[in-house]
């Protein structure tokens, strides 16, 4: 794996592009901080852990990993002053990473639409889909989360059964990841297999205005295309790299160990469902 990583770094060095344009979409007035415990590998039960932000603006909200955006910001600023990939790597070496690159923009590009961006190896992809609201069943169970009185709700959504706890004390119909559609903010959400668990640890009213940006150059694609790429990358890195047009040859110093990694997506895709 290390050898592959070295190889990756040299390839990255070649396609070290200047800063991309960024488009300001909205200004956030509220920031909700979630932690996420999730299963990275179904077979080994390896757990991942991430810190994520939900920045809520007057029209648009953005949900993303704080850790990965931190790493990205450091890299961008290193490249901006003419640094190279090895400097950027050494500066970010100590930051725990989750490799969850996705951003979810709700109500963008227009009302009732959702934009999803993700990075697969070197390329950033983006797709749009209607902002689907789960059909929630409200349950008469309540608990206190971070000083907010929350009520329980359940819904089947994107292939999984979600249990959410929301508070009407914050009348914003939003939540972590693609979840929304309750009369208040979702402070805790977990799927029925406990593979993905988001829980709120902080809420901040933003005095300094944090812009909601869409940053970078994206390849427009469909959800299925992105899913296919993520799956291929996760399950067979070498084959994925060989399929990339900018890489002419992949030389592995160690003989190929075909480690079959089962890709686990938070969203169960229609195509994958049929296969199963």
């Amino acid at each position: 794996m290390n050898k592959i990583r070295i190889l990756l770094i040299t390839v990255l060095g070649l396609c070290n592009l200047p800063l991309f344009a960024q488009v300001k979409l909205d200004t956030a007035y509220l920031q909700v901080i979630y932690l996420e415990d999730y299963v990275k590998n179904v077979d080994t039960k390896k757990m991942g852990y991430d810190e994520l932000f939900l920045n809520i603006g007057s029209h648009i909200s953005e949900f993303y990993s704080k850790r990965e955006s931190q790493v990205q910001n450091i890299r961008d600023s290193v490249f901006a002053i003419g640094g190279d990939i090895s400097q950027a790597t050494s500066l970010t070496a100590d930051i725990p990473r989750s490799y969850q690159y996705y951003h979810v923009y709700k109500n963008y590009p227009s009302k009732e639409m959702l934009t999803y961006t993700d990075k697969v190896l070197f390329d950033s992809y983006r797709y749009e889909e209607p902002l689907e609201k789960p059909v929630w069943t409200l349950l008469s169970e309540r608990k206190d989360i971070q000083g907010y009185l929350c009520q329980k709700a359940m819904a089947a959504f994107k292939g999984r059964k979600w249990t959410a706890w929301y508070t009407t004390e914050i009348p914003i119909s939003d939540g972590p990841w693609k979840l929304s559609g309750l009369p208040g903010l979702i402070l805790d959400a977990v799927d029925s297999d406990s593979l993905f668990h988001f829980y709120c640890v902080g809420i901040r009213q933003l005095k300094e205005s944090i812009p909601i940006n869409i940053k970078g150059k994206f390849i427009k694609c469909s959800k299925q295309e992105l899913y296919g790429k993520r799956k291929q990358l996760d399950e067979d890195l070498v084959a994925y790299m060989k399929s990339m047009p900018q890489i002419t040859n992949v030389i592995l110093k160690t003989p190929e160990k075909t480690k079959t990694n089962k890709y686990l997506d938070i969203e169960i895709q229609e195509s994958a469902k049929k296969q199963e």
């Binding site: 810190e51 725990p96 409200l138 309540r142 000083g147 009407t168 009348p171 914003i172 119909s173 809420i203």
Partner: protein, 392 residues
Amino acid sequence: MRRILLALLGIVAPFTLYSQTFSGKVINISTNKPIEMASVSLLQTDSMTIAFSMANSSGRFSVTVPDGKKAKFICVSCMGYAQKWIPVQGYNEGGEIRLNPKDIMIKEVKYVSKRLTQSGDTLTYSVSGFRMPHDRTIGDILRKLPGIEVSSDGQIKYQDKPINKFYIEGMNLLDGKYNLATNNLSAKAVKSVQVLENHQAIAALKGKNFSENAALNLVLEDKAKARILGTVDVGLGVEDKSGNALWDNRLLSMLFNSRVQNLSMYKNNNTGHDVSSELKVLTIDKINQLTLADESNTLSSLSVGSPDLDQNRHYNNDSHLLTFNNLWRIKKETDLRVQASYFHDHEKQDGSSFTTYYLPGQTLNIDENMHAVHSKDEIEGSVTYNVNNTKV
């Protein structure tokens, strides 16, 4: 009689059980404009939400009472407006609900990134924020913490000053020999590392005598507490031709309880790792006491000069280390600690030098060979009864 009642119910029930729907329009009281995305919830008497709906772009909404439920209030809320509760009885069906614009103050929930927090004189480093997959012992983590420095012999310094106490769960089990913990306690067992700044260990002197040094406390994960943690490491190797064997073994057991703590270990190796450093007293208060009593230099032994290389490159040893540390917390401020250790080392040193002097008329060759064997047995034991309270 009962039959008549049932029959009556049968006539009445269909009229009361039909699902009730509330609809209307949400508008801003000061501008008379519709409020989009306002959420309209139906609440029971215990204020539990039973159904809800969102107002559309013209502010209209319609919400139905689910079967078998009874709505008591209609609650209308939206960010930027004061929440409004309307009793169902007084609701004007199809009418307008006017909301007052109001800045909603959201109760903030403080979240400090988990890596580092400070409260008073205590600085807390969260281990999970620093742990990388290759880190094994808590010592590996300590080396990375900002503000903390670990020297090559394992001494921990906070802001360039050696620490004065090393606690595990607030108890001073090792009394300065904290390399035993930093080299052997798994990083996964530790939840956080606390630095207690300006730590005065003697309760009676607290607030009277200022200390410049900090103390360190390890807070353990719940799963590491109140159970015996055992580790067995075995490392063996045999050289092809000479048949020389190498070994590096460890047998370790630890227990951290609220009343008893124990760390017992047997370690041996001949791979050049200096295990005696684990018995070194490193806290600053103990070092000061020891320098007076140290008599190890009264008799000196023959030694071959050491080359300018890491010690583990030239240290030809056969070391065995056995240690037992136990602490009982008898009362809140009273501890009894028993420490015992045995260290055996058999070290071989070989040195040779060859010098040639070119003198007029003759050449002088000096060939010097030295072979030294050091054998060391150290037994150390201590029993400490410590009462630490504020009474003088």
